[in-house]
Symmetry: C2
Subunit: 198 residues, 2 copies
């Protein structure tokens, strides 16, 4: 019976963390990959208006080999979230200063969470305006980001070395759950869901 199996599941309770939003960035045109700092971001349920990744849906790409390239699919990656701690680490691994959040297309820079990239799917981040986002998962390697890093460092090899150095340090993708503006200096209240291993 299932009930017997359940006895062996260790459920780690939901918990809360606090952090600080120290940067907000957006693409200036929807065909840009890199993002630029902006004074505030208006998070809508569709994502960040005018940003490359806005929309409830998007086209499938290399990350989804199980769908036809270009097929319409649920987005799941409206928002990219990184931490200065992890940007520092990626830079350190590459022999560089801390990586710039904009080079890799980040939208939110959240400081004060150890290994931000490991916040589990279903984690919610709440902002003072009432805006919130829900974490969909770790951000996967991306050649756009490697190329952008290599262009800025003027080291062509970084196109390949960046994805390796950034593995599990490249932050999170998230969807907007409740709309509102967010801006640098905002306190971030983070709700982790219950966790277990299936």
């Amino acid at each position: 019976m299932t009930r017997d199996l359940l006895d062996h599941v260790v459920i780690h309770p939901a918990k809360r963390l606090t952090a600080k939003l120290i940067g907000t960035l957006s693409t200036l045109r929807t065909d840009d990959f890199e993002t630029e700092p902006v004074e505030q971001l208006n998070l809508a349920l569709e994502g960040i208006s005018g940003d490359r990744h806005a929309g409830f849906t998007r086209e499938a790409g290399a990350r989804e080999p199980w769908y036809r390239r270009g097929a319409k699919m649920r987005s799941g990656r409206q928002i990219s979230i990184v931490s200065p701690e992890e940007l520092w680490e990626i830079g350190y691994a590459l022999g560089l200063p801390p990586l710039e959040a904009g080079w890799i297309g980040a939208n939110l820079v959240v400081e004060g969470v150890a290994r931000l990239s490991f916040l589990p799917a279903g984690t919610r981040m709440f902002f003072p305006s009432g805006a919130s986002v829900v974490v969909e998962g770790q951000n996967a390697p991306c050649r756009h980001a490697g190329r952008a890093v290599a262009r800025h460092t003027e080291r062509p090899s970084d196109e390949i070395s960046f994805p390796k150095a950034a593995k599990r340090l490249r932050g999170l993708v998230a969807s907007v759950e409740h709309a509102g503006p967010v801006l640098p200096g905002d306190a971030v209240t983070i709700h982790l869901p219950e966790q277990w291993i299936y």
Copy 2:
């Protein structure tokens, strides 16, 4: 440094399971809570067309006390998935035959997964047509379901005893990731993501 912390994270690799879709149900009117068996379901990116829970967005309710009741929010619960194994268990706990999937508003009945309700957020289910759904989390207790069960069993106390008996057995909520039809008899390929405890 974050890197040191990462050394202590046990990452359970992604894995696959197979299962079988044995039932497809939908609400007949959007003001219905209970679902009725249908020959097939057309999963669209917005959810199940005509179903009570269709839409990229919905109104916040009692499950989201952190939002104003009725505020527009990301849905995250287009699709309700249950298993016959867990419906049997809930019925057993209540001294009843297996619970009917439609009484509690389920859309998909998936057989062959031990403790289905514990499939982690980010799990994907793929169907032969190309349709897929992504698990958002466990379905939380709901008074609608308790009332519906009590109406069918003609035992008023089931309105209260159902949510207790169904805790962690009530299945999953999911969003459509790729559109397509699904019908009873479909094989279901289930991709679990990497897992860890934060």
